[in-house]
């Protein structure tokens, strides 16, 4: 599995694991924040769609991929910034179309066919992307205006693009929170989440609201794709790489909970970043716990357990966390008991 972490990290690899001082912790906090906020942009839309329709959009990460590809194509002609503006809109319209002409039709058969439909859609989108753009990675790069070092912490330079990503994600989060809690539209959406029948009886067009939320959710995924494409790479497998982590995120956060999605995203971002940055070895842990290392180690049945290091398992930590959460708190960190 591809590392979820931003590529720039490898440059600092030499200084890692020796002195866990404050500077390094700060750098990793920033890195984890970037990853976590990126995850949140995807999981926010996904969890909103889930709480509204009760269906998990398996193709959500595919819309993220479409965002990156559209933005790349647009950036070839009119530059990165127009891509950032137009690509999410296109993705949002596509998403709304999928809801209107696909999901709404499948809805009559029940939740499981809906899930299978979005799964098939994810497969189809990946094939379409390969059909149009081929299997190779696209040369989608950060805009030149952001290719400088914003500041450096003890010799570790933080590129301006990372800061830009953080600001974009936070701005979107605040915007989303404002719309959902302070505006009339947001109130109606929140009401439609819990009592769709009543809201419909009050004269609101609930199917239209559903379509809108689906469109906005996929557009959010599109934004994430636009800004993540240049750093994580724009290739046909990018949806698959991030897709399952996003699902894990909303399960950990509690299905349907926006705050849960935020907390879980940041948690996963930081956990993966820190376990990659600090080379904790299972060997040290086991020795500390009082076990003796079996000799010769290569002949022991436990050799894999002894040789595990934290960077090695960083990518599966979210899954382990998910299984633990499911066992001890089945409805997630912030989920409702009956969700």
């Amino acid at each position: 599995m591809e590392p979820l972490i931003l590529k720039q990290k490898s440059r600092r690899a030499s200084g890692i694991g020796i002195t866990p001082d404050m500077d390094l912790i700060l750098v990793n906090l920033i890195d984890g924040l970037v990853t976590g906020l990126l995850l949140f942009m995807l999981s926010a839309g996904l969890t909103l769609i889930f709480s509204m329709m009760g269906v998990l959009n398996f193709a959500h990460a595919s819309f993220y991929m479409l965002g990156a590809y559209f933005a790349f194509q647009i950036s070839l002609y009119i530059g990165f910034w127009m891509g950032l503006l137009i690509a999410p809109l296109v993705v949002g319209v596509l998403g709304a179309g999928v809801e209107r002409y696909g999901l709404r039709r499948v809805h009559q058969y029940g939740h499981v066919p809906e899930l299978i439909f979005t799964f098939g859609l994810a497969l189809l989108i990946e094939e379409v992307v390969q059909f149009i753009w081929g299997k190779n990675q696209m040369p989608y790069a950060t805009p030149e205006i952001l290719q400088f070092t914003a500041f450096s912490i003890a010799g570790n330079s933080i590129p301006a693009y990372k800061i830009f990503m953080i600001f974009i994600s936070i701005a979107i989060f605040i915007g989303l929170l404002y719309v959902l809690t302070r505006t009339r539209v947001g109130m109606i959406i929140q009401a439609a989440l819990t009592y769709p029948k009543t809201v419909e009886a009050l004269g609101h067009n609930v199917p239209l609201i559903f379509m809108g939320v689906f469109g906005v959710g996929t557009a959010l995924a599109g934004v994430a794709g636009v800004i993540a494409g240049p750093v994580l790479g724009t290739f046909p497998g990018m949806a698959f790489v991030l897709g399952s982590i996003v699902f894990v995120t909303i399960v950990i956060g509690g299905l349907g909970s926006l705050w849960g999605a935020l907390v879980a995203s940041l948690l996963i971002g930081w956990i993966t970043t820190f376990s990659k940055a600090y080379n904790l070895r299972m060997e040290d842990l086991l020795t500390w716990a009082g076990f003796t290392k079996p000799e010769p180690i290569w002949d022991s049945a436990w050799r894999d357990l002894w040789s595990i290091t934290s960077p090695q398992i960083a990518d599966i930590l979210p899954y382990i966390l998910m299984v633990l959460i499911l066992i001890f708190r089945p409805y997630g960190l912030f989920g409702k008991r009956d969700a």
Binding site: P113, G120, E127, S244, I327
Partner: protein, 432 residues
């Protein structure tokens, strides 16, 4: 063999009979004879390879349908149970002393038990809920175990996987399974046994309760059954047969890698099962046969087979949620009325034209793909055994014309087909 899983409440007598533990002899007898005879019809080595793959996929798809069709549980990580069963069997093959003491045909039992063991552990927390929550957990657990395959090298063999040799087992009445055809009969026998067992399982009270829990868990709970335990037992039983399928994979290919565990594999089995149809017992069998054929034959013809498969799958989910089996069973009422023959000509007209239209559309897609992705200067392409220059106008005009005419005829004849359909499904003399 064709009993619909959804019982018809208007016919209580039939519902009672549906639980009888008898295997209808005719269809199963035909299946057994067919399995015996097939290698004499298709004698080529490649054909036997495809048939082996098919039989393994059938067992796996049937096991998968115990969850999806009968239990209403959608799993995105079912390849894990098959894969782990297979890995365990390869390890047994490599245990010289132990393996020399058991005949190869018994090996799948160990694979099944391994899959069952894992399913017991995972099922203990994943079957609390059905639907979306179950699907998420299955995906997460599937990813977790697939990712573990590169970390737990002792069991999964890391990137290159593990391999064994099936011929070290105790000879089974003198057969050492050196040849492909011997393996075929081993797999065929297991196919028949496990399919029959799975069929009988769907007839047991537990199998019927799985249907009840799928349709209305709340009501099942009021009747005194624990929906969770019913789901758990379905899951464990499905894990056993998935493990058997994985073991047969190990016997056939003698190597297992991470590819046997990952989400792609789980997705493929979902595709095969759903295309075949989840509502009937024979649906997954049909799906596995068609899917394996498409996978092996079509992938030789075109690079874009995944694209076509994706389209077919999405169309199936949207318009024919019953899958192939559902389409076939739609014709039963007309057959009962003895009016199936009246559909022949309209079908030929509409579906024939539709097939031509689809071929035309496929030609357009292939030509576009060639235009975009062929190396520079490479203008000639071969399609339907005709070689032509993809950069000239003529082939495009022909393809567009064929597509339009094909779909045009479909549009023109569709009302007549609908008319014939209504006619064939209405008893003679009934008021229209």
């Amino acid at each position: 063999m064709t009993d619909q899983f959804t019982s018809d409440p208007s016919k209580p007598a039939q519902r009672m009979r549906a639980g009888s533990m008898v295997i209808p002899l005719v269809p199963w007898g035909i299946a057994a004879v067919l399995l015996m005879v097939l290698p004499f019809i298709f004698t080529a080595n490649s054909a036997i390879t495809i048939m082996n793959q098919m039989a393994i996929t059938i067992i796996f798809a049937l096991a998968y349908n115990m969850l999806l069709g009968q239990g209403g549980m959608l799993s995105f990580g079912h390849a894990v149970y098959a894969g782990v069963g297979g890995f365990a069997c390869v390890h047994i093959m490599n245990m010289d002393d132990f393996f020399a003491g058991i005949p190869l045909p018994l090996l799948p039992i160990f694979g099944g038990l391994m899959g069952m063991g894992l399913a017991t552990i995972v099922g203990s927390f994943s079957t609390r809920k059905a639907g979306t929550v179950f699907a998420m957990i299955s995906l997460g657990v599937g990813e977790l175990i697939a990712a573990c395959s590169v970390i737990i090298v002792a069991f999964f063999g890391g990137e290159e996987g593990i391999s064994g040799d099936r011929t070290y087992g105790m000879p089974f009445f003198g057969v050492e399974f050196l040849q492909q055809i011997e393996v075929y009969y081993l797999i065929a026998a297991w196919l028949l046994i496990s399919a029959a067992l799975m069929y009988l399982y769907s007839r047991t009270p537990l199998g019927r309760m799985a249907n009840a829990v799928r349709d209305n868990p709340e009501r099942a709970e009021f009747l005194g059954y624990s929906a969770r335990w019913v789901r758990f037992f379905s899951f464990v039983a499905s894990g056993f047969f998935a493990g058997v399928a994985g073991a047969l994979f190990a016997v056939n290919y003698e190597i297992l890698t991470e590819e046997n565990l990952n989400t792609t594999q789980s997705g493929l089995i979902l595709l095969a099962t759903f295309l075949g149809g989840v509502g009937f017992f024979f649906g997954p069998i049909l799906g596995a046969i068609v899917f394996t054929l498409v996978q092996t034959v079509l992938s030789l013809q075109t690079e874009l087979w995944g694209f076509y498969l994706g389209i077919v799958f999405v169309v199936t989910v949207m318009f024919f949620p019953g899958g192939l089996a559902g389409l076939i069973m739609m014709h039963v009422p007309a057959m009962r009325l003895g009016k199936l023959g009246r559909l022949g000509i309209p079908y030929l007209k509409t579906l024939g034209a539709g097939a031509v239209g689809c071929l035309g559309a496929a030609a357009l897609i292939e030509m576009t793909f060639h235009l975009r992705h062929a190396s520079a200067g490479d203008h000639s392409m071969t399609l339907y055994w005709i070689t032509f220059d993809s950069h000239t106008m003529l082939p495009w005009i022909v393809a567009i014309a064929v597509t339009l005419i094909g779909f045009g005829i479909v549009r023109a004849t569709a009302p007549a087909l609908a008319e014939a359909w209504n006619d064939a499904n209405t008893p003679d003399g009934a008021p229209r």
